[in-house]
Every structure is written in C-alpha cells, then in structure tokens.
Symmetry: C2
Subunit: 131 residues, 2 copies
DNA sequence: GCATGATGTGTGTATATACACGCAATTGCC
DNA sequence: GGCAATTGCGTGTATATACACACATCATGC
C-alpha cells in the first residue's frame, strides 16, 4: 500500500507547526495567529470574505480566528461603507507584535530550512504551491 | 519576505484534505477518520498511547478521534490485562468500510498524483518524510 | 507487603477548521 | 420605487488538535 499524501501532509504539518508555535511562544501567539496577523497587515483594512479568499480559509473560520486576535487587542473590527461588510485592521499592538515576532518566526523558518537543506526547501515550496 | 513553510504546508494540507474528504464522502468518513481506521487495522488491538506514538498524535487527540469511530460503530474499545490501558480494535463494519473506502481513497490519491506528476509526487513524499 | 514513582487515561479548556442556516444589506430589473 | 436575487456575516454544530490536570493502576525498592 503506497503512502497517503494527505496523511503525510497532515503529519508533517503537525510537526512543523509545533516548531513555529514553540518559536513564537515568547509573544504568546501560535503560527496560525501570527500568519493571519501578517495577512491582515498586508491588506488592511480588509473584509472577512476578502481575507478568506486570499488565504483560502472558510469565511466563518476567518471571522472566528480574527475574533481571537481582537480579544488579544491586536486587531479591531468595524464595518465599511457597505454595511454588510465586517472589516478588520491591526491595532498598534498588532503592528508591534509583528515586529517583535519577526525574528522568532525567522528562527523557526531557519530551523526548517536547515532540516531540509536549501535546495530541498525550495523544492518543497514549489511542490506545496503546485498542490 | 520569503514564504513561510508552515503557512504553505497548512494551506496545502487544507486543499489536499478537501480532495480526500470529498472522495470519501460516499462512506461518510473524512480522511482523518479513514486514516485512523487504517492505522488501527494495521496493529489492532492497540492501546491509545501506542497508537498515538505511531501516528504522532497527542494521546488525548487519539482518544477523542477513536470515540468518534466508536460512535459510528466502526471501532470498539476495552481494556487489556493492564487495567490502565484502553485498547481499541475494529468492528466488522470497521473492516468492511476500509474495503469499501479503498477505491475512493485511491481515486483521491490518483488525483493528487496527477496534479503533481509521478516524479514530483515521489519528491514530495521524500520531503514530507524528511520534515 | 507497602510506599513511591512511573505510566496510561479521560476531561477541561482553547484554538483551527468546515458546512449549513438564517439574517441583513445591496444590487438589478421592471 | 419595489421586489427578487445576490452578497456578506455570524452562529450552531461537529471534528481535529494540543496542553494541563487529576485519577487510577502498575512496577520497584526495601
């Protein structure tokens, strides 16, 4: 029986996520939260739907994850001209924690790259983007 | 800013998981459940801790996921000689659904392999195992 | 035999994720 | 202008996942 790509991916994701989560512990965020924060920063202010489209996450998932950041005081939500839209942007603390977290994230990134080697890391990136 | 390996992995995992989940829909299981069922089948009867060790999942996560399978009538739990251990094995229906699901799983597997090509698929497998 | 430390479990809590529903606002068509 | 279809959202529900705790059982040293 050949290996299941999906099971392999899921296991690798668990492992790698824990490396990043550990690295980000000093700022009290996990990788998913840090990543979401970065995406918001890149396009703020942005609506939930648009954010979900960019990061390929279910809209309701985005809403809930944003709510966690909001509870931490890192993001703030409101509504735009279109009263249906819920838009989110970062607070000052949100921006600051991105700066503080950058070197922590980089350390995790380096750790993974060291684990695979430079060439293999680039290969992995290509393959994941092709999926 | 280089790409985050972890975010890439997580996104790819979401995408791929949904391919397998869709494929397995006829048997009413998702990939995580199907995969867990297969692992149990390979080593049954097996304790939660041992199962978690093999698939690199938190023990308590294994317990809860097994409970779902148990609720579906696909697995049964009990305790071994060591009264602390909770052991699990498949029911008849559990074994049957593995057979029914095999071609569905294979179809998803083929779809992913087609998406990447044979060589890249093998590469991906190697890289994921190296993580 | 018994106290102690080690081991195995389940539960509580929190986040990540998806899907189905129902509600509110906007847009389009006459 | 008004009604229907579209769009955007939050909530309910369910699973996957991890970590911290508390409890039960086993193994060991004496």
């Amino acid at each position: 029986m050949p290996r299941c790509y999906c099971a392999l991916l899921r296991k690798a994701t668990r492992r790698v996520t824990s490396v990043y989560d550990d690295a980000l512990q000093p700022i009290g965020l996990n990788l998913a939260q840090f990543s979401l924060l970065r995406h918001i920063a890149r396009d703020e202010p942005i609506s939930m739907t648009e954010l979900g489209r960019k990061i390929e996450l279910e809209r309701s998932t985005v809403s809930r994850n944003v709510k966690v950041l909001e509870g931490m005081g890192l993001a703030a939500t409101g509504s735009g001209k279109d009263q249906r839209e819920a838009i989110v942007e970062l607070t000052e603390n949100g921006h600051r924690i991105l700066v503080d977290g950058a070197p922590l994230w980089q350390a995790a990134q380096d750790k993974i790259e060291a684990r695979l080697g430079t060439d293999a890391s680039a290969q992995l990136e290509d393959l994941l983007l092709a999926l």
